[in-house]
Amino acid sequence: MTKYSKLISFVLLCVLTLSAFGIYQTQAGTPLPEIELVTEEGNVDELDALYFIGNIYSTQSSGRSSTFEFKDGDFSYLNNRSVFRHLDFEYNPIANRYVSDYRSFMRGKARNTSNFTETDDEIIYTAMTSDVNWRRMYDDNMLDISLLDKESEDEQSYEVRLEGASYHGVVASYYHAPELTIVTQAADEQMENNWYIYSFNFDEPEDTLSPEVNVGQALDSSSIQISFSPTGTERYIPFKSLQPGEEDEYGEITNYTTDAFHVYDTQNGDFQEIPLFEEGETLVLSEDEQVVVGQDLGETINWHAWNVTDESLNELGSTDMITPSIGRLPVYYYNHSFNQGMQLVNGHVYAYEDHYSEDGYGRPMFQIIDLDSVSTDFSGYFGLEDRENDRSTEMMLFDFTINPL
């Protein structure tokens, strides 16, 4: 027995210490904070279509951070996922849902929101070849298009050469069967950044596409932004052109103002200008055949429907907003899209703000407005249940999506 004493001692040391450390870790682990959804007005069921990934972190300790998701009206922390599930997890709600539900289709496809368009029956993927093979960033204008039939899981794939510019990046795509409208940012012949619109027909697929429109030329603007599209099924695409201000002391222009709003009709291929309000800011949202224009007066927004036939505004009514800035996230001149904080889905405006309240804590807030009645269906915020005793924990949203289906 004596000759094994050293061996037994060392093995016991290892086993006991590692076991004790395991127990200590379990006991010393800080319980994850309870998250609550506080309803200030309306019905919480309105948030069932909301899916977001958020993070809870300590302002005092960089080691304390937990990711959670809000899905189907419920919270769950993501810390307890298996390693393999964690490896495949995407911090992008749309891509994450696709990877989970259409794993085979998602193989080999880029994972940006702008690469996908979804209808009740189909998912359409549109991306440059360089989006999945970064080494080809500077040598191709090849566009990959795939269409998935959700029910049969049949996939049609096409490889298309884009002409008229170089170094394309897909900004958004819009689908009205069988037409796919693709908006890209690319370098023109003078190597200046410009916007192009292409059209692809699934019934008559072509190998090469020429631009339908050079957006910069059509709108006579060198600085353009596009409305963020939650669905990619709208007929009218809102564009905003910016007017450069004066140069600063370094010769840079950082001060841009809204010059005009236009909507591009994906079926007729022409632009209509939306007039700017003299008082307050102008908001332009679209969904399916509908264009909605808002007069942002801060505390209230006056809603109008844009009549595309006679190019006029029909007043819908006004809504009191729960904060003077909710939904109107700051958009800078270098952003390529606007309306990220205000999305029109199923006739409802989802306004979001990562609002910093008077008590200084982050409270992701949502206000949902039904455009038929222009009333608030829901308003509320996400917070910590034990905020009184937990003053060092903050909450933030990475990204959110409203599932329209």
Binding site: C14, T17, G22, T30, W134, R136
Partner: protein, 282 residues
């Protein structure tokens, strides 16, 4: 079976005896340097805070705004803790070579007696591997004990108001070295040990190739080592080969790496058994 286990235990106990002095030294150095770190680092912070408060006539809160609050991570990121940990890793790495070559040192080569023992020769291989792993886990265990005691020492030296409130586990969780070598995150710990075990099996095979075929064996061993590294790393380059970074899911790449490392480990064991039984010269 009982006889097999008994002879394996005898050999392991024998190898442990031979490593014990080296291991005690490593454990002693670790504890000593850690202890200095647990006392010196917080005392330097406390001294700096007190000096600043006296010379600038400011409150403790203002001094904290200047220097920041103190956390146990500030101690674990000093050389007093990092140096012994890396010394332990590199020391045991060198000992993994020495544990074989010591048998052929000197005139009366001990390898002759060892290989002539009436036990399966792979038991020699396993006993050396077990002892290296007992040493690794002993270092880990002592490091854990040291950190647990050290956390109490640091908490006693620094006033409560000056501490950030970071727990021991939180400090280890964000530490780039300890989160891998200590069982803080089961994924990192198992990965590190999986890679480490495969590495040890390949290293032992390389040594046995060299012992079996001399210079030619050294070339073979190096080639074998390079090939195993290429095979293990192959899945990482798969996206480049198929020219699509999203073709394979990360979980598939990970699963492939695990499978290939297992194949490498088993192959190394089979080659080592063949070399020990048939080829090795005394």
């Amino acid at each position: 079976m009982k006889q097999y286990m008994k002879s394996l235990l005898n050999l392991t106990a024998f190898e442990l005896d031979r490593i014990s002095k080296f291991l005690y030294t490593l454990l002693g150095v670790t504890l000593l340097l850690n202890l200095i770190g647990y006392i010196y680092t917080p005392m330097r912070y406390v001294g700096r805070m007190n000096e600043y408060m006296q010379t600038e006539s400011v409150t403790a809160q203002q001094a904290i705004e200047r220097f920041g609050s103190f956390s146990f991570y500030d101690v674990t990121s000093t050389l007093w803790l990092l140096a012994p940990a890396t010394l332990g890793i590199s020391g045991l790495l060198l000992y993994s070579l020495f544990i074989w070559y010591r048998e052929w040192m000197g005139k009366n080569t001990f390898a002759y007696r060892l290989l002539m023992l009436p036990v399966p020769r792979m038991q020699i291989f396993y006993s050396k591997l077990f002892v290296i792993y007992i040493a690794i886990f002993s270092l880990i265990a002592v490091q854990i004990i040291s950190l647990t005691i050290g956390f109490q020492i640091v908490s006693a030296i620094v006033p409560d108001d000056w501490l950030s409130g970071m727990t021991l586990v939180q400090a280890l969780n964000i530490h780039p070295l300890f989160t891998v070598i200590l069982p803080v995150s089961s994924f990192y710990f198992l990965s590190a040990n999986g890679i480490g075990l495969t590495f040890m099996l390949v290293l032992f095979t390389v040594i046995l190739l060299e012992r079996s075929y001399s210079f030619k064996g050294l070339g073979l061993g190096i080639a074998y080592g390079v090939v195993t590294v290429l095979i293990a790393a192959f899945p990482v380059f798969l996206p480049d080969l198929v020219q699509n970074y999203y073709f394979f899911y990360d979980s598939e790449i990970m699963a492939l790496i695990i499978v290939l490392m297992t194949v490498i480990g088993v192959t190394s064991l089979l080659i080592s058994r063949h070399l020990l039984n048939k080829k090795i010269t005394i």
